[in-house]
Structure formats: C-alpha cells, structure tokens
C-alpha cells in the first residue's frame, strides 16, 4: 500500500493559496483602516476584518508549509525557481506567524505607533508572500 506521489503537490496547491490571499487581504483591510477617520464605523469593521484574516492566514501557513516539505521531500532551499520560492517562503512564514500571534494577543488595544509598525511589517510580509507565490507559479510552469 502506498500513497499517490502527486498527493503532496495537490495538497500544497490546495492549501498554499489561503495564507497568500489572507495575508494580502489583511494588509488591504488594515491599510484601508488606517486611511479611514477614527470617527467612522468603517474603521472598526476594517480592523475586525484585518484581525480575523491575519489570524486565519497565520494558521493557514502550517498545512501549506507541511505539504510543501513533503512535496519537496524535505528540501528547504533547492535550485533556481525553487530556491527563489524558498527564499521568499521562509521569512514570510516566520513573519506571518509572528504577526498573527501579535494581533491575536493585542486585539484592538494597539497604540497608534504599535499599529503603524505592525502595518509596515504586514506590508513587507504580504510582499514576501506575493514573491513566494510568483516563484511557486514559475516552478509549476517549468516542471
């Protein structure tokens, strides 16, 4: 008895888009919330959306990373497109987990300065996730 060797690529493809999309959505919601006046009810709504999307995005990284590790048979760097993919993936993974943890603990009690730093790191992470997604796509097109 054995498993289909294509199971891991399928699982990785199925799981990896969630953290990518959720990290970008969190950056969008929280970025927009920073532009909305404090008096507007939209601010709290956008912050709530940003809160849940970053936490779900952070949780979503674990199945994506695990299936990716099985797919590459434990290769953490590789060559060419795979190397670039991993150079974006690993820092994005650590940052996304950290951001999700910070946001879950602080909730809506962040100071303006703390939230501004969080937002800057969130944009950096969303950019890294986009880079990881781009090189992941290159891997599929080249294989």
């Amino acid at each position: 008895m054995s498993i289909d060797p294509t199971l891991w690529p399928k699982l990785h493809g199925a799981s990896t888009h969630f953290p990518v999309a959720l990290a970008m959505a969190a950056a969008l919601f929280d970025g927009l919330s920073a532009l909305v006046p404090a008096s507007s009810p939209r601010k709290a709504q956008l912050r709530a959306a940003g809160y849940f999307t970053i936490i779900l995005g952070a949780l979503g990284t674990f199945p994506a990373v695990l299936s990716g590790l099985f797919m590459t048979k434990g290769r953490v760097l590789g060559h060419d497109a795979e190397l670039f993919h991993h150079l974006f993936v690993w820092p994005a993974f650590a940052l996304l987990v950290g951001l999700g943890a910070w946001r879950a603990l602080v909730g809506d009690k962040a100071s303006p300065r703390g939230f501004a730093i969080y937002l800057a790191v969130l944009f950096l992470t969303a950019g890294l996730m986009a880079g990881a997604g781009y090189w992941g796509g290159e891997l599929i097109l080249n294989s």
């Binding site: 289909d4 060797p5 294509t6 690529p9 290769r75 650590a94 100071s111």
Partner: protein, 151 residues
C-alpha cells in the same frame, strides 16, 4: 479657595497618573505580544526546518514513493540505460548533474511517472522539444526511472 485649588491639582495629577498607567499597560501588552510573536515565529520556522531531515528520510519509504517507482524496484541496467539517454538528450539543457541549467532541476520531482513520461514524449512548445520520435516507450520508461532516481 485654596482647598478647591488643591483638589483641582490632585485631580489633574490623578488623571495624568491614570493616563500614564494606561500607556504603560498598553506598551506592556504590546511588548509582551511582541515577545510572543518573535518566539512563535522563530519556533515555527525552526520547527519546520528541523522537520526537513525526518521528512527526507520518510519520503524514501515505499509508502511515500508510490511503491513501483521507488529506486529500489528499478534494475541497475534500466537506470544505466536511462542515464545514457539522459547524457545524450537531456544534459545540455538540464545540466550534466540534472540540477538545472536552461531547463529546470530534475531532482525530487513531485510529479507522477506518467507526467514525466508525457513531458519527455510531448515536450513543451517553445521550451522543450518532443522526444516521441527519438525514444520508444521502454526507452522513455528508462529515462523516467533515471530521473526518478535523482535525489
């Protein structure tokens, strides 16, 4: 008059102290959250990287390799034949060591044997030629076995 002024002053100090305590509490919460975030980020990343070695080992188990396509099930003759075809037709683009050059790295391909065979036979327009006419099915199977043996 004086007592009213004193009360006002005390109330002002109390309010300032309250704000100060609130700011401290916020900073404290954010700082504590930052420490948790750094720890969880580092543990997650470290854990994933540490898991790579055991995953490398268990990925060679027949259960994970799909059984029939595991290198152990392939004869040395078939592998040698595949290596010869590889050197003849594939090494120029994929590199002599198959770690990629113009074409991609062929080590640990996460696609099925059928997909590798299809790629060899059909190629990709503008990127890789078709080898359907050059190699028959048993020869393609030897190439697939060789490519599959690359770890």
């Amino acid at each position: 008059m004086n007592s009213a002024l004193e009360r006002k002053t005390l109330a002002g100090e109390s309010a300032r102290n309250g704000i100060s305590q609130s700011v401290r509490a916020k900073l404290s919460l954010e700082t504590r959250a930052l420490l948790w975030a750094l720890m969880l980020g580092a543990v997650s990343l470290g854990g994933a990287l540490l898991m790579a070695t055991p995953i490398q080992k268990i990925s060679t188990w027949p259960f994970f390799t799909g059984g029939a396509s595991s290198p152990a099930a392939v004869s040395p003759q078939l592998l040698a034949q595949g290596a010869g075809f590889y050197a003849q037709s594939c090494g120029d683009c994929h590199g002599d060591d198959a770690h990629g050059d113009e074409g991609p790295d062929l080590h640990n391909l996460a696609i099925s044997d059928a997909r590798i065979a299809s790629q060899i036979k059909n190629g990709t327009k503008g990127e890789m030629p078709s080898f359907r006419k050059k190699y028959d099915d048993p020869q393609v199977a030897a190439l697939v076995a060789y490519v599959r043996s690359l770890h």
